[in-house]
């Protein structure tokens, strides 16, 4: 079990502030680092990986410094976003070299295990230069896993992967998270984060914007209407009853469904079943229409 701590961390390049006063703790399990391109995700991951010193603040792994401390790489595995590897090597040579650099006793066996984990045994004898983008990503993953690290940092790991490879990586990361490893991955693609991460850290324009389960993040935003699609035995009567309460901002009849804008999430969640019961209406379906990460993200970007 390992924990990474970022405390009041900022990083600027000349006049450009890439990361601005970010504090977060990354513990065991899967954490998704979400933000649009240029939000500072890669800069933050580089600082976590010890490739960039913070301009202000500290980055630690289990209390110890990460910057200028090559011993942290016994605990950390890194999958960088940049594609460049040693293209003249075969996949196997590359992963064996990684195992040797980690000083593992049986580098060959460790490399075989890592290549099997990412399902790259069949292509391991081919040169990395001939690999597809997705295959390069997987062999980088094997290289990062070869020493069985407690912490895995992945910068945009799904880039260039086809849907099948994506599912395989999602499954692999889930397994690693379930084993108690600390897994942090960055992405600007919302579905990836939504599918995978139990914990989400949102970074926008270098600033920490939100943290937690994505539904919790969404619920924190009480100043924005939450949309629901409701199908009931009598949508008109339900609409009138809901509008009588202050927690409902607007209702709209849309065919067989009722679209509701709730201004207060918690109050609306309590109100709806009570109103329906009092009015003798049966609720057939209640769906949060905008409870996807996309809407949370769009809202945070707007804000």
């Amino acid at each position: 079990m390992a924990t990474m701590q970022i405390e009041n961390c900022s990083r600027w390049f000349g006049n450009v502030v890439a990361v601005n006063d970010v504090t977060m703790t990354i513990g065991p399990g899967i954490t998704g680092l979400l933000g649009p391109n240029g939000a500072g995700k890669s800069t933050l991951i580089h600082m976590l990986a010890g490739f960039l010193p913070p301009s202000a603040g500290t980055v630690t792994l289990d209390g110890g410094p990460v910057w200028k401390n090559h011993d942290v790489y016994r605990t950390i595995g890194i999958v960088p976003e940049r594609e460049a590897t040693y293209d003249s090597l075969t996949g196997r040579q590359f992963v064996v070299a990684s195992a040797e650099l980690h000083g593992l006793d049986d580098a060959g066996a460790a490399a075989s295990r890592a290549l099997a984990t990412v399902a790259m045994e069949d292509a391991a004898h081919r040169k990395i230069g001939d690999y597809s983008k997705g295959m390069k990503q997987r062999v980088k993953m094997a290289s990062a896993l070869v020493h069985d690290p407690a912490v895995l940092l992945l910068d945009e790991p799904f880039n260039g992967m086809d849907p099948r490879q994506r599912l395989h990586l999602i499954e692999l990361l889930r397994r690693m998270g379930a084993e108690g490893r600390t897994v942090l991955f960055s992405s600007h693609i919302l579905e990836e984060v939504e599918q995978l991460a139990s914990q989400i850290e949102v970074l926008i324009a270098g600033r920490y914007a939100a943290s937690g389960d994505y539904r919790e993040i969404r619920r924190l935003m009480t100043d924005r209407p939450h949309q629901y699609t409701v199908i009931s035995s009598d949508n008109r009567i339900l609409a009138a009853a809901l509008m009588a309460d202050g927690s409902t901002a607007a209702v709209r009849l849309d065919g067989d469904a009722l679209r509701v804008d709730a201004s207060e999430f918690l109050r609306f969640a309590e109100l709806l079943p009570l109103v329906a019961r009092d009015a003798g209406i049966r609720l057939y379906e209640v769906t949060p229409a905008d409870e996807s990460l996309e809407s949370v993200f769009a809202y945070l970007v707007e804000k």
Partner: protein, 237 residues
């Protein structure tokens, strides 16, 4: 030193266009020596003067530039150095290993061809040995100097070329004081000390030259290790 870093560096060097370039330079040197031998006999002082200009003054700085920057520069430029830096290997060990590859390449593709060229042209064994030791001293210092430059700046090749062409050739020949800081002059002092007196003209004393060669090599190696320790990598942000 780390055997894996040695192997990775050697594979990258041998597989790249840089190795073709340095091989071509060695072939040109040997070819020139053969041509000179075919055209007529040269005296020992003429051979010394010829190789001083062709090998020590021209070939070695260019060779050091190509090999020294080539051991680490391309990895920093394309970002693949991240795979090496994300391993628990002390940074000075990475530098020592890469430098060893650069010096071995210098011996194989510049020092040995220089000695061979001298022998082909009819030089004595002692002059060939003196030129070999002198070119090894120059090559080793150039390698570490240009490797350090590749860690410090993305424009190492341009700055290195500027140093070789402007400082070593122009300033060194026009400003007497600048010769004290010329790697070529240090190497000439070593060659002069080993060759028959009068064959080579050096403008720096042997003690100063040896001190600067060893001191410069050790200091640049140490500094390269400490700079690699704090090397920051460009991010996509």
């Amino acid at each position: 030193m780390n055997r894996t870093v040695l192997r990775l560096t050697a594979q990258a060097m041998l597989g790249g266009r840089r190795m073709l370039l340095v091989s071509a330079m060695a072939v040109v040197l040997i070819g020139l020596a053969l041509l000179v031998r075919i055209l007529g006999d040269m005296s020992e002082p003429d051979i010394a003067g010829f190789l001083q200009v062709i090998s020590l003054a021209t070939l070695m700085p260019l060779f050091g530039l190509i090999v020294g920057t080539g051991t680490i520069g391309p990895e920093i430029d394309d970002g693949s150095i991240i795979h090496l830096l994300s391993k628990p290997v002390p940074r000075p060990v990475i530098i020592h290993s890469k430098l060893a590859v650069a010096v071995m390449a210098t011996v194989a593709f510049a020092v040995v061809p220089t000695a061979l060229a001298a022998l082909i042209m009819g030089a004595s064994g002692s002059l060939a040995l003196a030129l070999a030791v002198g070119s090894l001293a120059a090559g080793a210092v150039y390698c570490v100097m240009f490797m350090l430059l590749a860690i410090l700046t993305r424009h190492a090749v341009i700055i290195g070329l500027g140093y070789a062409l402007i400082w070593e050739s122009l300033v060194g020949s026009l400003v007497p004081g600048a010769r004290n800081l010329s790697v070529q002059q240090w190497a000439l002092a070593v060659t002069d000390a080993l060759a028959t007196p009068g064959l080579i003209t050096a403008h720096v004393g042997l003690v100063l030259a040896v001190t600067l060669i060893i001191g410069g090599f050790v200091a640049a190696t140490w500094y390269a290790g400490s700079r690699l320790r704090v090397l920051t990598l460009a991010t996509e942000d």
